[in-house]
């Protein structure tokens, strides 16, 4: 039974262990920075995977580059710059805030604000009895008055 469980664990852990090589760090803080970084960086070959998930050769090479940069004591920003200098902002899962990405960052808030304004105007129009009366034509107003008279009288 114990062997069966062990075997099952090995099978389940297998694919993940293949994708990632074992890295030795001289400082746990560096290891943490490395792990965070490779999850935020995008693999250029299998573009919907991060560097951490990808099995591609290039992803492995780039993980090594990131590891070397972090291990040599440089900052995470320097590791990110190394990759964006060569591959552009495409490698970032979190796009930077600049003129071409303005709509990307602000778009959702603009839509939300636009929707709120629209709803508020609708609600106000419906709640305004004067405007409702105005919306009726002379003929409709005459018929409304007739109905009112009939029910009240």
């Amino acid at each position: 039974m114990k062997r069966l469980i062990l075997c099952l664990c090995a099978c389940l852990a297998g694919p993940a262990a293949d994708a990632m090589e074992v890295r030795q760090f001289d400082d746990p803080a560096k290891e943490e920075r490395y792990e965070t970084l490779i999850k935020d960086l995008r693999c250029l070959v299998c573009q919907n995977q991060s560097l951490a998930e990808s099995d591609a050769e290039l992803a492995k090479d780039l993980r090594t580059e990131v590891y070397d940069i972090i291990q040599s004591g440089k900052s995470s920003e320097e590791a990110v710059r190394f990759l964006t200098d060569r591959y552009g902002d495409f490698v970032l899962y979190r796009p930077p805030f600049k003129s071409v990405t303005l709509l990307l960052w602000l778009g959702p808030f603009l839509l939300l604000a636009g929707g709120a304004v629209f709803l508020w105007k609708q609600a106000k129009r419906r709640a305004d009895p004067v405007r409702q009366e105005e919306a009726l034509s002379a003929e409709e107003r005459r018929r409304l008055q007739q109905l009112k008279d009939r029910f009240q009288g």
């Binding site: 250029l44 070959v45 573009q47 050769e57 290039l58 090479d61 780039l62 580059e65 964006t84 200098d85 060569r86 591959y87 552009g88 495409f90």
Partner: protein, 175 residues
């Protein structure tokens, strides 16, 4: 009038999505275009004791084609490059990416060698410096060593005639 606003929004959405469909998500624009080519100095594929470096190539317009014997699309692209090299318009250099020397040499012998020389990038470090993320890729570099154009994927005769040759003529005219 009541339908004007939803209609406008709908048309805008259709246009936006339509543009999205025409974009190639696999095409990553290179930040290196318009920038000096990254320096390199590597042994040649044909002879380990000879070095191919950026300094040696500077002063001329040239193509640098990233290739590998294990790359299927390179096979498709190769005859185009062989033909182009024969026309002698600009020299073509190779960057042999993550290959073995024996495989690379056998490949050139079998399919023809369009390259003046190929740099042997065994560990792919130069590829990373040049922002290579797939094979084949082709760079057009000007007289001053500035990257002017990058083609991701195989170069077709159409790309050569319509995109690369006009650029080459422009660069040669500017010299």
């Amino acid at each position: 009038m009541r339908f004007a606003i939803p209609l406008v929004i709908f048309v805008l959405l259709v246009v936006l999505l339509g543009v999205g469909l025409t974009l190639d998500p696999r095409e990553v624009p290179s930040p290196l275009i318009g920038k000096p080519a990254p320096a390199f100095s590597l042994p040649e594929v044909a002879a380990a004791d000879r070095t191919l470096s950026l300094d040696r190539l500077k002063g001329q317009v040239f193509l640098l084609n990233v290739w590998a014997s294990w790359c299927v699309s390179c096979r498709q692209e190769h005859p185009v490059l062989v033909d182009f090299a024969k026309r002698g318009i600009v020299p073509v250099y190779g960057l042999n990416y993550k290959d073995t020397r024996d495989d690379a040499l056998a490949w050139l012998k079998r399919f023809g060698d369009p390259y003046q020389a190929s740099a042997f990038d065994e560990d792919g470090k130069m590829g990373i410096e040049w922002g290579v993320y797939g094979v084949p890729e082709t760079f057009l570099v000007d007289q001053h060593g500035v990257i002017r154009y990058k083609q991701t994927g195989p170069v077709t005769p159409e790309d050569l005639e319509n995109k690369i040759l006009p650029l080459i003529r422009e660069l040669q005219g500017a010299a």
